[in-house]
Symmetry: C2
Subunit: 297 residues, 2 copies
């Protein structure tokens, strides 16, 4: 899985930090999480075609997370008119999207299916991965997301040789966790395969620290978490229901994350290294996101 930070700012974009947008690329999927103003231009800087987007996950309908949607959708509809995009978001998403799409004179028609997510759940699943949403605690209805790669079973070729079995279509069954019979002998999937645990990427933007976050993001290989403010502004963060760099690190620690990337920085921080330092005190393996940064998970 590759994650590209298209925008790492918050309410007010700066020259260095565009409004929030994150792209997760995994096999044929390109999943965009939020779409702040100027996201389509960030795609240009990242040299990725927005027409490759397969799904859009919206955390919430504050402007800094969605002002880039109409431009992005207009461009996609121009260059890939047949393209169908699934957009997921909290309750109210259909309402806001339909209003947004009627707020200007369209030059072409977007082909979007909206899915509203009410409760914490896995709302998408295919052969390779699933996506989970969970409630956050912000000043607007807001969701966190986890992309969960499915575990993969690799055949222990040495083991199955003992049964006189080599490459054969029946191995697919073992790979899918099904026991098989070969030469009248039973081969158990659990013995004949080793499991490679799938990776988990969790994204927590715009929230207070809650137990529900910890419950849902446990053991993430990568946690991307907002740290709008430093701990010196903890009261302000609380008032606007945002996380500080210290709180983000505590969430990473409590949820047993492997790696933390903090993002969604207030425009007041020209240099975010003090926030990074705060986080690292609590959770060592922390990075501060920069626009156009790419990370492999």
């Amino acid at each position: 899985m590759e994650i590209t930070f298209l925008g790492t700012g918050s309410m007010v974009p700066t020259i260095e930090r565009n409004a929030t947008s994150i792209l997760i690329s995994y096999k044929d999927e390109n999943i965009l999480v939020d779409c702040g103003e100027g996201t389509q231009k960030q795609f240009r800087y990242a040299n990725i075609s927005p027409a490759k987007i397969t799904r859009i996950l919206i955390t919430h309908w504050h402007g800094d997370h969605i002002f880039g949607l109409p431009g992005l959708l207009t461009s996609i509809a121009k260059f890939a008119p047949e393209k169908r995009i699934d957009l997921y978001g909290p309750v109210g998403s259909s309402h806001y999207l339909s209003i947004l799409l009627s707020s200007y004179i369209p030059m072409n028609k977007s082909n979007i299916t909206v899915h509203e997510i009410k409760d914490d759940c896995i709302f998408f699943e295919n052969k390779e991965f699933k996506i989970k949403a969970f409630q956050l605690e912000h000043t607007a209805r807001c969701l966190g997301y986890s992309l969960i790669e499915k575990d993969k079973r690799n055949i222990n070729m040495e083991y199955i040789k003992k049964f006189g079995l080599k490459q054969h279509p029946i191995l697919k069954d073992l790979q899918n966790g099904k026991d098989i019979t070969w030469n009248k002998k039973k081969i158990l999937a659990k013995d004949a395969t080793t499991t490679k645990r799938g990776k988990i990427i969790s994204i927590v933007l715009d929230s207070l620290a809650t137990k529900n976050i910890i419950t849902n993001i446990k053991n993430s290989d990568l946690l991307v978490c907002e740290a709008t403010l430093g701990s010196e502004l903890e009261e302000k963060a609380k008032e606007y229901k945002h996380l500080t760099s210290t709180q983000a690190a505590q969430i990473a620690k409590d949820s047993n994350a492997k790696k933390l990337i903090i993002t969604h920085f207030s425009q007041r921080y020209k240099d975010v290294s003090p926030l990074l330092k705060e986080s690292r005190k609590i959770f060592k393996n922390t990075l501060a996101a920069e626009d156009l940064m790419r990370v492999l998970v």
Copy 2:
């Protein structure tokens, strides 16, 4: 008058050309013409505070001319909550703006008065200048604008000396074109003053070439005119009701403009010098706009 080209692209923004937006600064006024996506970031690059905007003129409600409005208005409302902005545009502007402002969860409230302009008219006037709107011919209801500086009278001090008159409050009357009496002698404003003609900036975006444009923009000191396509795509331009570089130059020539700046280039032109060359063949004093270019008139 200073004009700053914040965005010089058209429907699809590129790294080099943001979507359309032009700022005209004149004394205490900062008038924004259109507001494509990312305009607030362009303000940052131009090192101008968007809170300085006094009026916004919208040519039409196609996305590439307005997608930057919600972000810009949100930022202005954050940093200058008392700020009141007048927004002018074609019939339908109130409808589109009110929908646009309800398409997201607001974090603060914008203070905007919308003025819809139905017919060709001067819709704003103060001591120093007036603004005129005129109908264009596009695929959406679309307006062109002229900013017309008022003529100024300078006192001919040598002339009034003959009447025994020097600095005196009564000179204000002469400056306002009023004849006065001094030492029982009549002094005529036309004799005692010289007139400095006010400058005219006209902006024509997204239109076919029409007689109405020529009628309205006559004798502009600067004509800013769209040239979305080159003449090799004249048929396409006609289909989408846009101007070519050749047509823009012909308009400048026919309307007796002093200077032409072409803008609103299609993303297909990485290099617009062929378009500039075409224009210059017909109207020599032509420039091609670039993002963040500033021109004094």
